[in-house]
């Protein structure tokens, strides 16, 4: 049995945590949340210099060619510090889509720039409220032009290129659309987590090319989303851990009726529940990253399980962390709301709890039939 990260991977975790503790303290998150910027550009530059943006991109395209185990570790640390960065958009989603579906010239053009961090990419998927249905996408590509409306798109305002999910005469497509061009207009959209920028993006006959040379098979697309779900789960786990630690520390230090509130069972049981959910989420995230890294057929089940567990753990920990803090947790001044915002935000991208519960049961029944 070898169901644990290697020593080198553990070292990477320590290094990443040390780095983010130094360069991504909560004051960095607060500055983006409070200010007009949609990200911390200088932090992105440092993260790119550390090679994090290059982690799983193959060496042939300027990447480090490391495994998803390393990327999962970095994702958790990103979540732990609630980093105001487009890491998930650019790395888990867009880079992975380009890598999986792009033809040689598309990969050669974009992957090296995404690996070095000099370019940022995002994924534009959603068009309206409610569950995403691939068959009902209205964004259309005709020849080399794309037209449509996507909202919300995370990190579009800081991105250089978007992977846009659209339809053409061929069917479903992931299109590569450089953002800084005439036919693309970006309007800021206010969300409940302004430490990450969101936009409404209008494509009006913008220059676009479909990724790859063949139509996109929806099942292959879902495979990429499964992979992203595993990485999101690790980032959410980081958020959940930070919320638990913050709640624990406060429960030790805050006194009421002459004793630490952490000595009351009402608080203890709340924190124990957080620990239980976080532990289930961590073990399921291990399962997820194992399936992703080893290319297992179990990925759909493992990804959905990791995702549901991480959504439940992170939202519970973030909500109950504020509750543990009482009134102070509800203030702008305390940091509790960073995790509350981020946990929920990460739980919505690529579909929420109900979507992934549904996918989990589908994967479970399919896997049972196959076995």
């Amino acid at each position: 049995m070898n169901f644990e990260f290697s020593e080198e991977q553990q070292l990477l975790r320590e290094q990443a945590r040390g780095f983010l503790t130094e360069y991504c303290s909560t004051s960095v998150v607060r500055a983006v949340l409070d200010g007009d910027e949609d990200w911390d550009a200088s932090l992105w530059k440092k993260v790119a210099e550390m090679g994090w943006t290059a982690t799983v991109i193959p060496e042939a395209y300027g990447g480090l060619g490391l495994s998803y185990y390393e990327l999962a570790i970095l994702a958790e640390e990103m979540g732990r510090s609630a980093a105001p960065l487009p890491f998930s958009s650019s790395i888990y989603l867009a880079s992975e889509a380009i890598r999986h579906f792009g033809n040689e010239s598309q990969k050669s053009e974009w992957l090296p720039k995404l690996a070095s961090g000099e370019c940022v990419a995002t994924l534009a998927m959603v068009e309206r409220a409610g569950r995403l249905v691939l068959d009902q996408l209205e964004t259309r590509r005709v020849d080399s032009q794309i037209t449509g409306y996507k909202v919300p798109v995370a990190d579009a305002s800081v991105a250089d290129v978007a992977v846009v999910l659209a339809r053409s005469d061929q069917g479903l497509e992931a299109c590569l659309v450089p953002i800084k061009q005439e036919g693309v207009s970006i309007a800021p959209v206010l969300t409940f987590d302004t430490s990450r920028g969101h936009s409404a993006v209008t494509f009006d006959r913008a220059g676009a090319q479909a990724l790859g040379d063949a139509p996109l098979n929806p099942a292959d697309w879902e495979r990429v989303i499964d992979g992203a779900a595993v990485l999101f789960a690790w980032e959410q786990l980081g958020v959940a851990e930070s919320a638990l630690i913050q709640a624990r520390d406060y429960a030790l230090q805050r006194f009421a009726f002459g004793r630490a509130i952490g000595s009351y069972q009402a608080i203890k049981h709340k924190l124990a529940n957080m620990y239980v959910k976080n532990t289930l989420a961590r073990s399921n995230a291990y399962y997820g990253v194992w399936a992703l890294a080893e290319g297992s057929d179990e990925l759909p089940l493992a990804a959905a399980t990791a995702r549901v567990a991480a959504i439940q753990a992170s939202t519970y920990a973030a909500e109950e962390n504020i509750q543990t803090h009482g009134g102070m947790g509800f203030t702008w001044e305390f940091d509790c709301h960073f995790y509350y915002r981020r946990a929920k935000l990460l739980s919505l991208a690529i579909g929420g709890e109900a979507v992934w519960q549904d996918r989990l049961v589908s994967a479970l029944t399919e896997q049972t039939v196959a076995a």
């Binding site: 608080i267 532990t279 890294a293």
Partner: protein, 401 residues
């Protein structure tokens, strides 16, 4: 990461599997025996071949196997339908206590027959007045010449009716604070004055007993630890309890839920297509899978020769309420038929109803949900204990309500 054995582990697994294939009894005469007789027969067979209590030192009947080898052995033995629960408390909890606290003579006398299943032991801790607050127990031992005489009542004693010996925590000094006035003995369950009465549970089964002690004489040599040191000795037993309990939660798993939800209909469609049903099944799978892979993480630690982290402490707290919730939900899906427990008429031969009726016991035994949550909060997260009103007060002056 991978789920494979190291080459040493694989070799051990092969050896164990080969021995089991050769020796595990499957014949009709064996199956005709009572479960206890089957268990004793099988345990002795393992003992004679050096496959009983393999983690123990050879002088007590083991083979000094590593913790990961013990796990491998349990996995391989688990492939066969053989009774094993009769010896769990004795071998899993009491033996480690004897190894830590008994004198050499007693160890040599009692450990080998405990390993071979020829002698069965039970644990006499809980009392009507002391469950979660175990140290509030009132059964007393008083000096009687060179020995002691025990009077009082124990409760929730598993297997007392087929046990040869038991370990007991008693109060030897009520004038000092509660943890300080306890002592720990082993007793002969067949001694005069020991009376065992089965408890009928709400399931109708009787897995536990009340045990009454009336002027039961024990020798001072049957004491483990010093007089007044009983609490520390009891902690040795309790620390091994979570390792011995934990385990599985029967046949109530997600695959059962899937097969029930697949056959039943809601509004003319399989229940398995219903969103609310899918959400619940997904949540249980998250728990089931989370516990499974938490176990794999602990096994990895053992395989690498290090101690597992505290993550395993969540097992019972997740598993027992899950079993109750799942049984409750599936019974509800069955509608009015969900009440049928008759094996011949009930869906899944009444497994679900039995699970529902048995679940309250699992949520209480070996530490209630609430006590398990306290343990996680205090030992894992480092939160302070609740202030205790009986702290530092002589036991005889503690309010009892």
């Amino acid at each position: 990461m991978d789920f494979n054995d190291t080459s040493e582990e694989a070799r051990f697994r092969q050896e164990a599997a080969a021995w089991l294939a050769e020796n595990a009894p499957t014949d009709q005469t064996f199956r005709a025996l009572s479960p206890l007789e089957q268990a004793k027969r099988w345990q002795k067979c393992k003992y004679d071949a050096g496959w009983a209590c393999i983690g123990w030192a050879p002088e007590f009947g083991g083979r000094a196997a590593s913790p990961i080898e013990e796990v491998i052995w349990r996995q391989e033995e688990g492939r066969y339908d053989l009774p094993s629960t009769f010896f769990l408390i004795g071998q899993g909890m009491i033996a480690p206590t004897l190894m830590a606290w008994a004198n050499d003579e007693d160890k040599a006398r009692y450990l080998p027959p405990l390993a071979s299943g020829e002698e069965v032991w039970c644990q006499l801790f809980s009392e009507p007045a002391g469950g979660s607050d175990l140290a509030a127990l009132r059964t007393r031992a008083d000096r009687d010449g060179d020995g002691w005489v025990i009077n009082g009542q124990k409760i929730w004693t598993s297997g007392a009716h087929f046990s040869d010996y038991g370990v007991i925590v008693v109060r030897t000094d009520p004038s000092v604070p509660k943890h300080k006035g306890l002592s720990y003995f082993y007793v002969d369950m067949k001694a005069p004055g020991v009376e065992i009465k089965p408890i009928k549970q709400l399931t109708g089964d009787s897995d536990f007993n009340e045990v009454y002690f009336t002027d039961v004489k024990v020798a001072d040599s049957q004491r483990l630890g010093e007089v007044g040191q009983g609490w520390q000795v009891a902690l040795t037993t309790l620390m091994n309890e979570r390792a011995a309990i934990g385990g599985g939660f029967g046949q109530m798993d997600v695959s059962l839920a899937l097969s029930v939800a697949d056959k039943l209909e809601i509004d003319g469609r399989p229940a398995l297509e219903n969103g609310a049903v899918r959400a619940r099944i997904a949540d249980w799978y998250v728990q089931e899978s989370g516990l499974k892979y938490t176990g794999y993480r602990s096994l990895t630690a053992l395989s690498r020769g290090s101690l597992p982290g505290p993550e395993n402490s969540i097992g019972k707290l997740v598993g027992a309420p899950k079993m109750q919730a799942m049984a409750s939900f599936l019974i509800d899906l069955l509608g009015a038929s969900g009440a049928i427990a008759d094996e011949k008429l009930a869906v899944q031969a009444g497994i679900i109803q039995r699970a529902y009726m048995g679940a309250p016991g699992l949520r209480i035994a070996g530490g209630t949900d609430e006590i398990m949550a306290n343990i996680i909060a205090e030992r894992v997260l480092g939160l302070p204990q609740e202030p205790r009103l009986d702290k530092g007060i002589p036991f005889s002056e503690v309010p009892t309500g």
